[in-house]
């Protein structure tokens, strides 16, 4: 434990993006005496998916517009039945309380003339989208509340592994400073992981490492830390794949433009999907269109009135991904005249958008004692930003209760020394492989072997390649603390790649549209696979997969509704069939 900086808290929240700040604030509110630390690899002021704000709530369950039961039903169907309804329902029931909390803190949502929330219908069945045309202030609002609640904040620390006591319960977290490379051991009675999606798994079609859909700080660190602590991960084969602006790789924002008359179109300017809400089935139709003679796919706005286009530009070019206007200008794309070319994203893990995450129950507890998780990395399907806030809230409160009466566990010096040696090796080598090169190759293999359509033999070869990259990790050379961060991320991405391959091989059926389309098992097989597929590190240290029954439904789904998301293609927009 040479040179390790040791500190002590009651609760450490790792990741200060969306779910993390909420968890820290709510833990403090529950018990103001707690010493709560919010740790981030970036700077909490501007970190995570919402660093520049957000265009809207994708899943608001607001009385008068939707009910928790209806929402639970919609997500169950959109996710092909494989959900723990208790977890989705817990979100839905608290969704409105979270909105009211954010509203009281000063986050602005769109309202109609009567002062009611201006909810829009984007999903297939219900209405859950609430625009935030002035959504650029979310992080500022959160930061103010963090200060008010007296949450301690440490920025620029990359968490790398959790500490566990003799009983396996979480006893802290380790990491290093990405500017000074100082090693930190932070003791705690519980940890909340809120490290976002695994956003650097696939390589974007542009080939640019950081041109990802997700904020690239989220390399999958949370997934890897949870895995190595023995936590169960759920349905990882249900990849995140999104329809995006080609090359720019940001959302085209059919949710923003849809209610104003914009839509996703094929090259003839025709609508081919009934509903722009992102689901595996929607991505399936999108992919079909890209592959077929009607591609590529576009966002169509050129039929809208000047006034509407100006509104759209104001929203899309100032919030969320504000460099979008510059991108369009550079290519001479004008919404008035041109459709915006779209493509599909690289693969990733994200429960915020699909269903791949660290398993949690409706209390945000993982399967490891003292470890909580919330946000994109926690497996509550389609949870998005509001789900991240809501589960952050659950995690903070429940962790605060769990901590009561517990004391700090002794630190195991051997665990710390092992981790220090592992993390610092690239800095100590005199020469070797550049992290960016290894990352490029690793992520290209992810594309080559794991991107749907998934093929068994290809995924098996992928596993061999990922094994070889494990050897390459032993040759990484970092020339600075900054590059050491990138080296640590490569190891995280490699772990996620192996998880993605093994989870995909385990489920020998197709499900969730494009997300888990297996060419050699092309049908959905409810008889054998109407279940969760979990993955964990077993006692011998091997990556292992197993089935878990789907929990009994709270909200029953009748057989007619069950297939609602299978009927997304617009009648008459059939694919051309070869003669």
């Amino acid at each position: 434990m040479n040179d390790a900086l040791v500190s002590e808290y009651d609760l450490v929240v790792v990741g200060g993006g969306t779910a993390g700040p909420m968890a820290a604030i709510k833990a403090k509110e529950r018990n103001p005496a707690l010493r709560v630390l919010l740790l981030d690899k970036a700077h909490v002021k501007r970190s995570g998916a919402i660093s520049m704000g957000m265009d809207g709530l994708n899943n608001a369950v607001i009385p008068g517009h939707a009910t928790p039961e209806q929402y639970t039903k919609e997500i169950t169907i959109a996710n092909d039945g494989i959900v723990n309804q208790a977890a989705v329902y817990a979100y839905a029931r608290n969704s409105f309380a979270t909105i009211e909390q954010l509203d009281r803190w000063g986050v602005r949502f769109e309202r109609d003339e009567t002062g009611d929330y201006a909810v829009k219908k984007v999903h297939h069945m219900g209405a859950y989208v609430l625009p935030m045309p002035e959504g650029h202030d979310v992080k500022k609002v959160l930061y103010r509340q963090l200060k008010r609640a007296r949450v301690a904040i440490t920025n620029r620390i990359v968490a790398t592994r959790l500490l566990q006591g003799d009983d396996g319960a979480i006893s802290g977290v380790m990491g290093f400073d990405c500017r000074t490379a100082a090693f930190h051991v932070i003791r705690a009675k519980a940890v909340v992981l809120a490290c976002g999606a695994a956003g650097r798994l696939g390589l974007p079609a542009s080939g640019y490492l950081m041109g990802t859909y997700e904020n690239p700080t989220n390399a999958g660190d949370g997934y890897a830390m949870a895995y190595h602590a023995g936590a169960e991960l759920a349905n990882l084969e249900c990849f995140q794949i999104n329809p995006l602006i080609k090359d720019y790789n940001g959302p085209a924002c059919a949710y923003v433009t849809g209610p104003l008359g914009g839509f996703t179109a094929n090259s003839r300017g025709q609508r081919f999907i009934e509903c722009d809400y992102w689901s595996g089935q929607m991505m399936w139709e999108f992919w079909q269109e890209l592959q077929g003679g009607n591609g590529p796919v576009f966002l169509k706005l050129d039929h809208l009135a000047e006034e509407t286009i100006q509104t759209i530009e104001t929203i899309l070019h100032s919030n969320e991904r504000p460099s979008r206007g510059e991108f369009h200008a550079g290519r001479g794309t004008d919404y008035r005249r041109d459709m915006v070319e779209m493509h599909i994203s690289e693969i990733g893990f994200c429960s915020g958008h699909s269903a791949s995450g660290v398993w949690v129950n409706e209390r945000a507890e993982t399967s490891v004692q003292g470890l909580y998780s919330a946000g994109d990395m926690a497996a509550v399907p389609h949870n998005y930003m509001l789900g991240a806030f809501t589960y952050g809230w659950f995690a903070g409160e429940n962790a605060a209760d769990y901590i009561a009466g517990r004391s700090l566990a002794a630190i195991d010096g051997a665990q710390v020394e092992r981790e220090q040696a592992r993390v610092f090796a690239p800095l100590l080598r005199e020469n070797g492989l550049a992290p960016s090169q290894v990352e490029y190759k690793l992520r290209r293999f992810v594309n080559d072997y794991l991107q749907p359509p998934k093929v068994t033999r290809k995924m098996e070869i992928g596993l061999e390649r990922f094994d070889a990259i494990r050897d390459d990790l032993e040759q990484l050379h970092a020339t600075s603390a900054h590059e050491l961060m990138r080296a640590a991320e490569v190891s995280v991405i490699r772990d996620c790649a192996e998880m993605a391959a093994r989870a995909s091989l385990f489920r020998t059926e197709s499900r969730w549209g494009l997300y888990h389309y297996r060419v050699d098992h092309p049908q959905r097989n409810d008889a054998d696979w109407f279940c969760h597929a979990h993955l964990k590190k077993d006692d011998a240290g091997r990556m292992t997969s197993f089935k878990r029954a789907v929990e009994p439904y709270i909200v029953p789904i009748d057989s007619q509704e069950r297939s609602a998301y299978d009927r997304l293609r617009v009648a008459g927009a059939e694919q051309p069939v070869p003669a």
Binding site: M52, S206, M210, D247, S323, E326, F327
Partner: protein, 81 residues
């Protein structure tokens, strides 16, 4: 035989540039350096101005938005332009 291991670098044009006339880093400002989620910016000790040290930009723009003097320009990285 004495093969010697060599590392080489790959050049790239930084998509984020700073207007030296406007940057007040020499008066103690470090805002853009503080907020960049990927930690790509630094103050050049020679010029006393901010600059992009690593080309790993997500073109997300907190650096430009939060700069008190409007000195930061974010262009789309060349590979995506």
């Amino acid at each position: 035989m004495t093969f010697t291991f060599r590392e080489t670098t790959q050049r790239s044009a930084a998509p984020v540039t700073v207007d030296h006339d406007k940057c007040i880093a020499d008066k103690g400002c470090t805002v853009c350096v503080d907020v960049c989620p990927l930690d790509l910016l630094a103050i050049d000790p020679d010029t006393g101005k901010a600059y992009m040290k690593f080309d790993e930009c997500w073109y997300c723009m907190p650096c430009a938005k939060d700069c008190p003097t409007g000195a930061v320009r974010v262009e789309i990285p060349y590979l995506l332009r």
